[in-house]
Amino acid sequence: MRYLPHTQQDIQNMLQVIGASSLEDLFATIPDRSCRLGDLDLPGPLSEWDLRRHMAELASGTVNSDHASVFLGAGNYEHYIPSALRHLTSRSEFYTAYTPYQPEVSQGTLQGVFEYQTLITRLMGLEVSNASVYDGASALSEALLMTLRINKKRSRVAVSKAIHPHYRKILATYFEPLYAEIVELPYTEDGLTDTSGLEQIEDLAAVAVQSPNFFGCIEPIAGVAEAAHDLGALMVTCFSEPLAYGLLEGPGTHGSDVACGEGQSLGIPQSFGGPGLGIFCTRKKYVRNIPGRLIGQTHDRHGQRGFVMTLSTREQHIRREKATSNICSNQNLCAIMAAIYMACLGGSGMHELAQLNLDKAGHLKQELQKAGASIPFSAPTFNEFVVRYPGDGASLTDRLAAKNIVPGLPLDDYYPELAGHHLVNVTETKSKEDLDQLVKEVTA
């Protein structure tokens, strides 16, 4: 759908109809202290040449993966994005800030989202997907709210400490005003969620783990799901690296009732950490409890295939305070990017790419161990793992920064018990030389 701004004439006509003399008059009810009057405090305009030079100077002061060897993942991953993707998603029909509601003018966008839903449910091994939500953290939060709607009489959710710390913070914000309580599950010395205390938790509505978890370890989903189901609770599997499911079977195949998480890996640029893609998939029997929008396929009166928003009667614009969620927004363009990315790679391409990530990360893990680094967790990993580099971790970060190497995320601030450890990520973008150089530098 094209973006057509209002002209001055449009604005004057609308003001005239409602009887306001000017825009200031229209906004007169806003108190002065809440209203910015006058111009913004900005420097004067620059010519295009000067502006480009200015921006290039600003950019040269940052470390970015085009000019540095970055082993930082932790929820936001450096993957190669096929050129076709940027070309297709920059088409003005897709490049709109809003989800178009009217099917008569937005079949392309609606079909794009429908294809996204189809592809992502296949990757996740589940039956239905919504049109996506904001990001991984909001997907997890909405998932746990949904389990409370389904398990109405229960009021506790068990959440693994090995879920991304930022996701857990946002979840706590969602739950703060609610009647329900979050119970944290510790992690074992293998780096996996400790579910041994589940039975002691009364009123359990859901169990949530991340896989691969924040430490990169692959959780035994099927076993956790069985334990959750035995207690009458739903199983929620969250993730920050969906590419892992190019190799692993989808969470739904292993008994998860909800698969939710961040989809940035699927063709979305890192862009300083956002915008993201909140993936949300579940079983068909819960479709009426899904938050957010859903696009469905139908046919018109001539029998031709078409796409429309489906189950909107549960959404906020119709059901107001009783809606399944009142944060239904998504970044639609990101969902379309993911659809195009998955279509570009295909099922076998996703599998090969995931294998490449696994192999490269495995190689680095092995070489680091040989060079004297220690790996605290024995559980299997995908493209990310925790390591304690030889020597002093803090000085290492500064020393390597000077050589344009970012050796991963120091875990001190997130898990004080893992002070001195780094979370290291290796994707297909790293060459063997990059890996060898990191090993050489950390042992220097």
Partner: protein
């Protein structure tokens, strides 16, 4: 949509302001009225409570979803759900076709039969609907 005089309002039933009907005195059968089903249009889903659930009067015990809206159904009496109309899971359109018969929603064993006294008879309900027009 139906005109007021076309509505079917059986005389033996009691009616609520929220457009539910009740039949019986100890175990009470509850559904939605001909007016309610007609206003909602084609019903595509009915969310039923579980047998054994306790409700207080004015609690929501079910939701009825049509192609254009989702509406709550309120119980006018307190008590325990002793039966639900499972046929609605596969055939929600029964509520449209036969709202007082095969389209019933639940049976509630009531704990305080005096709550039935405040409900309307068919004439009073019809008067209320005319006022809504």
């Amino acid at each position: 949509m139906k005109e007021i005089h076309e509505l079917h309002l059986p005389e033996e039933l009691k009616y609520t302001q929220d457009h539910e009907w009740t039949r019986g005195t100890e175990t009470v059968r509850i559904g939605i009225t001909d007016f309610a089903q007609d206003q909602l249009g084609d019903i595509v889903f009915v969310e039923l409570p579980e047998v054994g659930t306790q409700f207080e009067a004015q609690d929501v015990f079910a939701t009825v979803e049509s192609v254009k809206a989702v509406s709550e159904v309120y119980t006018p009496v307190s008590g325990e759900v002793v039966a639900v109309n499972e046929a609605l899971e596969e055939n929600p359109e029964l509520v449209n076709k036969d709202p007082y018969g095969e389209g019933w929603i639940v049976d509630i064993k009531i704990s305080d039969s005096s709550q039935l006294e405040s409900l309307m008879d068919s004439t009073a309900y019809m008067d209320m609907l005319k006022g809504e027009e």
